[in-house]
Symmetry: C2
Subunit: 137 residues, 2 copies
């Protein structure tokens, strides 16, 4: 299962996108909406910052979006907080002296990549704006 960092990241970005008073947007305030520890928020915010989705300044309260919500895809968010990780794990060291074992890894790699691409294509279709629309419809 994909961990909840994606979920929390979308929550954070939704708050940033919809809160006018940037001064209010402290990690502690965000944490009280997400219901977690402020450090968890700062940790994930740090990843969103490295992915160039948000901006912030050490010492000064608040975070700002770097792009329009319609230009932030869920894949952007997914990749920001997910290690550059394959969706499916493949068992290692299958027996190369077995006809199946010899080719199973490359075969599964092909298959799983196409599945992962299908998922990522869907994540690309949906933007933060779509989430905001659903949140406030």
């Amino acid at each position: 299962m994909v961990n909840s960092r994606v979920s929390v990241a979308i929550h954070i970005l939704s708050l940033i996108a919809t809160t006018n008073d940037s001064n209010q947007l402290t990690s502690e305030w965000i944490a009280s909406s997400v219901n977690t520890n402020p450090v968890v928020i700062r940790r994930i915010s740090s990843q969103l910052k490295k992915a160039n989705l948000i901006a912030s300044n050490a010492g000064v309260a608040g975070y700002q979006l770097v792009k329009e919500p319609k230009d932030i895809t869920l894949l952007d968010i997914y990749k920001a907080v997910q290690a550059p990780e394959e969706l499916f794990a493949i068992h290692d060291n299958p027996n190369p002296e077995c006809a199946v074992g010899k080719k199973i890894q490359s075969t599964l790699d092909n298959v799983f990549q196409s599945v992962q691409r299908a998922m990522e294509d869907k994540l690309t279709e949906e933007t933060l704006q779509d989430v905001l629309d659903q949140l406030f419809h």
Copy 2:
């Protein structure tokens, strides 16, 4: 990340589909191809059996496919070994007194379900036969 049980399950099914001598298909022999412990094989085989993909008899060596490889989709295999589990985790207990916190779970549930459906649709397209074709092309 989706654990390696899906990967191992496909390996097991490929061996069953392509090994004529059923007597050879012991959990120990399969384990030597997968490169793991026989109990791991029996554990996953047990799940495949419950999903009605393979058959076996306690005490007698071997496993048999219940369906044709072309009629076993990768989604069948995925669901057999994966707990009936959502692809994306959603953080719990967001603050209901916050406009975002109040609706984030139902919104993310919608969004993530559509993404999961895209992945499952792709898994449905590919069958064990397709894997066999790639293994022995």
